[in-house]
């Protein structure tokens, strides 16, 4: 939800209310004149705006943008590359000055980047790399490979005797693919013998993960661990494991508040944490620095790390890190 202009941004931009009441803004929309006082307009697209991770990330970008008295216009392609291009096109028509980009697909986004380039709109990437990074002024994102790697490491440490494990991945989601690769690499590096006895596509969705995992646990009730491609997947696996009355170590990646809250007293063992807040804040601030004429890094890796019951208190469970 984005007002055409933010006439009194200073007043309401301070709080970290990322989830500003959209209806109120709608009302603002109809009441106000077109972009008049020259506030900058930022476009924003991410792969799936209904994913809590991106909800948090968008909130942190919005916070920075609105604290400068500028406007953020977000669109949501719901994981459809074609829609994403359409929407970027519409944003260009609307007249944005800068763009924050997170692609549904690294290659599929390139046409949109071409259009942005042609329209002279500088682009800032976040969380997921695009097929050709030279389009981007700067990119901030977490190391997905590492996020999976730390989970694998932890597992190898906790179960040095090895055993059967399940993986719920998502081959069409690049970030998940990277995480699973990291996870498997860590296991390989550790030298502990784990057998992947079941592997299914959970499309990163809690409900699907729950259903798939239920069946996998029926076929393989003795698994010692389950790796989920993201936190919703891990949560789905947890529900399935509890229903099946088993408690393998369950790992996810994201570091979402929900998973953190459950680390201490459930089968959830760890989450390869990313920090959407840091990513959002970093890329937004980088954008402003660049606009101010400063030199910025082209590639800003954001640390990923493992959160388990042991260190979860450091990060708190009410929000993202």
């Amino acid at each position: 939800a984005v007002p055409a202009t933010a006439p009194a941004p200073a007043a309401d931009s301070a709080p970290a209310e990322t989830e500003e009441a959209a209806p109120a803004e709608e009302a603002g929309d109809t009441a106000e004149a077109p972009a008049a006082e020259g506030g900058k307009v930022f476009g924003y697209t991410c792969m799936d705006g209904t994913n809590p991770f991106f909800v948090a990330l968008e909130g942190s970008i919005r916070e920075v943008v609105e604290s400068h008295g500028d406007t953020l216009v977000s669109v949501d392609p719901l994981n459809d590359s074609n829609t994403q291009i359409d929407q970027v096109e519409d944003l260009i028509s609307r007249g944005i000055d800068y763009m924050f980009v997170n692609p549904v697909d690294a290659d599929g986004i390139i046409p949109a980047l071409d259009m942005l380039k042609e329209a002279g709109i500088p682009m800032f990437g976040f969380d997921t790399q695009v097929g050709d990074m030279s389009y981007l002024v700067s990119y901030a994102g977490s190391d997905n490979f590492n996020a999976g790697y730390v989970c694998g490491e932890d597992l190898a440490k906790k179960i040095p005797e090895g055993g059967d494990i399940l993986i719920l991945d998502s081959p069409t989601m690049q970030s998940v693919v990277d995480r699973i690769e990291g996870f498997e690499k860590a296991i390989e590096d550790s030298g502990v013998k784990f057998n992947v006895v079941g592997r299914q596509d959970a499309v990163g969705n809690l409900q699907v993960a729950q259903e798939k995992c239920t069946d996998l646990l029926t076929a393989h009730p003795d698994v010692v661990a389950i790796m989920g491609g993201n936190d919703p997947t891990a949560l789905g696996c947890l529900a399935a494991a509890e229903a099946a009355g088993v408690s393998p170590l369950i790992y996810g990646v994201d570091g979402s508040p929900d998973v953190k809250a459950l680390l201490k007293d459930s089968a959830l063992e760890g989450t390869g944490a990313q920090s959407p807040m840091t990513i959002g804040k970093t890329i937004a601030e980088t954008a402003y620095a660049w606009i101010d004429g400063q030199d910025v890094e082209a590639f800003i890796p954001i640390e990923t790390f493992l959160i388990t019951a042991d260190n979860v208190d450091e990060y708190g469970t009410d929000g993202w890190q």
Partner: protein, 323 residues
């Protein structure tokens, strides 16, 4: 009395023989196949299948009525998300007892049903459009009010409808039984049931016979909304949370179960018994493919082929029987 039941059972099998055979063949295969021999036919796995497909059955009972009426209902998927989030919201954010949240959730389903029912029974706007609209509206509302963030609720009471047990039988399985019996009574024993078939078979004939066509449509869409609300409760409970994206595409699963079960999309004919088999075919198929460890990409191919085959058997049988 005994012979009446017997007659009913015989007619049931005769009517649905094709898909029953398909289901049995699938089950037999899974029972004898080495990989699944030891897992498929366990009571635990069978309860799993039933539990997993309970929400689809709730939807499919309503969808059966809707499709027999000659209509369609696309909003049930969104309602699952909406009602699930309402249940969790009531329990978590409003601190109400879980049961109140569940009732509120079912009610919310009923309200969406009312919305559909109102337009469908009072105007000529096609059900496809009305429910496409309400699907979007419900989806928008749940996203706006949750901001896309799931609402977790881990209390035992919240987990009960989805994961609890009565004796050895999972609660959703019991709910499934209740809903199926209820829907069967509506369809087979009440005047309303007769009237649903009549309206779907020939609306004009129904009108000329003095049937209140509007009322029939109205009740069916409200019922379907309520069932979607109930499905939302069970799904949310199984997921320990109201998920704003839950139920995505559930309408297609329900429609598929109904159509596989032999109900004609052009209305007027179909049976709940067939729908039950349809739900089970799809359920066993998903379960079997997972138990067999079939690669998820190949699963699509196999699913497509099996569904086609199941209905093909039915068709061949129909030809043989000289239908």
């Amino acid at each position: 009395m005994g012979s009446k039941i017997q007659k009913g059972v015989v007619s049931y099998f005769k009517h649905n023989l094709g898909i029953i055979i398909a289901l049995i063949v699938m089950c037999l295969f899974l029972i004898v196949f080495p990989t699944t021999r030891s897992t498929f036919a366990t009571s635990k796995n069978i309860f799993n299948i039933l539990r997993q497909n309970s929400s689809n059955l709730f939807l499919a009972t309503g969808m059966t009525m809707v499709i027999i009426l000659g209509g369609i209902e696309l909003s049930v998927g969104s309602v699952i998300a909406l009602s699930g989030c309402v249940a969790a919201f009531c329990a978590v954010n409003l601190g109400l007892p879980e049961i109140v949240g569940f009732l509120a959730a079912v009610l919310v389903g009923g309200i969406v049903g009312l919305f559909n029912a109102f337009f469908i029974s009072n105007t000529d706007i096609p059900p496809f459009i009305v429910t496409l609209a309400s699907m979007n509206i419900a989806k928008g509302i749940v996203l706006v009010f949750t901001q896309g963030v799931p609402i977790r609720c881990m209390t035992d009471a919240f987990k009960y409808p989805g994961t609890g047990y009565v004796g050895v039988i999972p609660v959703p399985v019991i709910l499934m039984l209740i809903v199926f019996v209820l829907a069967s009574i509506i369809m087979n024993r009440t005047k309303l049931g007769r009237h649903i078939y009549a309206v779907g078979g020939n609306t004009q004939a129904a009108k000329f016979s003095g049937i209140n066509v509007k009322k029939v449509k109205f009740i069916v869409y409200v019922y379907t909304g309520l069932m979607a609300g109930l499905a939302g409760v069970v799904v949310a409970s199984r997921l320990y949370s109201g998920q704003p994206t839950a139920g995505d595409g559930a309408e297609m699963d329900a429609i598929a179960a109904v159509v596989v079960g032999g109900t004609s999309m052009s209305g007027g004919s179909g049976t709940l018994g067939g729908t039950l088999i349809g739900v089970l075919i799809i359920g066993v198929l998903n379960n079997g493919l997972n138990l067999l460890g079939v690669d998820s990409n190949w699963q699509f191919v196999v699913k497509g082929l099996v569904i086609l085959l199941a209905v093909y058997i039915d068709w061949i049988r129909g030809i043989k029987a000289g239908k």
